[in-house]
Symmetry: C2
Subunit: 100 residues, 2 copies
Amino acid sequence: MEFDDAAKKLAELGHPVRLKVFRLLVQAGLEGLPVKAIQAHVGIPNSTLSHHLAHLVSAGLITQTREGRILRCRASYPEIKQVLDFLLQDCCAGVVQIQG
Amino acid sequence: MEFDDAAKKLAELGHPVRLKVFRLLVQAGLEGLPVKAIQAHVGIPNSTLSHHLAHLVSAGLITQTREGRILRCRASYPEIKQVLDFLLQDCCAGVVQIQG
DNA sequence: ATTTCTTTTCTATTATTCTAGAATAATAGT
DNA sequence: ACTATTATTCTAGAATAATAGAAAAGAAAT
């Protein structure tokens, strides 16, 4: 993973709302969640949530697919794995070791 | 690791200058580096670097110890390990597995 | 004591981010 | 066509962050 890309992903994850949303989506699994379900969970206005989701999409941390009028959001597992790999290998080699 | 603490650490690491400095310090090992050596590496003015170092200190990602008139900076290994643990266990359980 | 070296603090400027109300768009059911 | 649902875009104010020059502080050497 490119350095600047890793920095961007870390920065986006660094916002409490976005970290909460991202964690929720990871824990939701491959099925993901509609925006509305996310909103119910985090309890902030539509427009604010949409702004944060756009951030996560732009960083490549989540993906969105339209299903009729709902928009389903999913965590991008390969991307988060790459962030972890960056931290573990390129940045913090020797501190801990990754497997899988 | 507390959620908000993890978010703060991720946010601080999300700035390119700070990520670069942090990586440099991790790679410098237990010996760490004086501020001046860091400055030579990143090539930004004193005051700007000092500002970013203060951020990293406040997030607990680095520590500073005075040695005469130089100030030695070191990466805080336990703290970064906790961030990784948070991402791996609390946030991204099942995506990858940690060891050590 | 003065000078030198290292780093921070102060101060100001510029830029970015966060937030959310209002309006708009897209889809689907009646 | 009308209505309801879901979500985004627009807009702007408030808050926060980034940058760096200048001055100051702390420590050692001459």
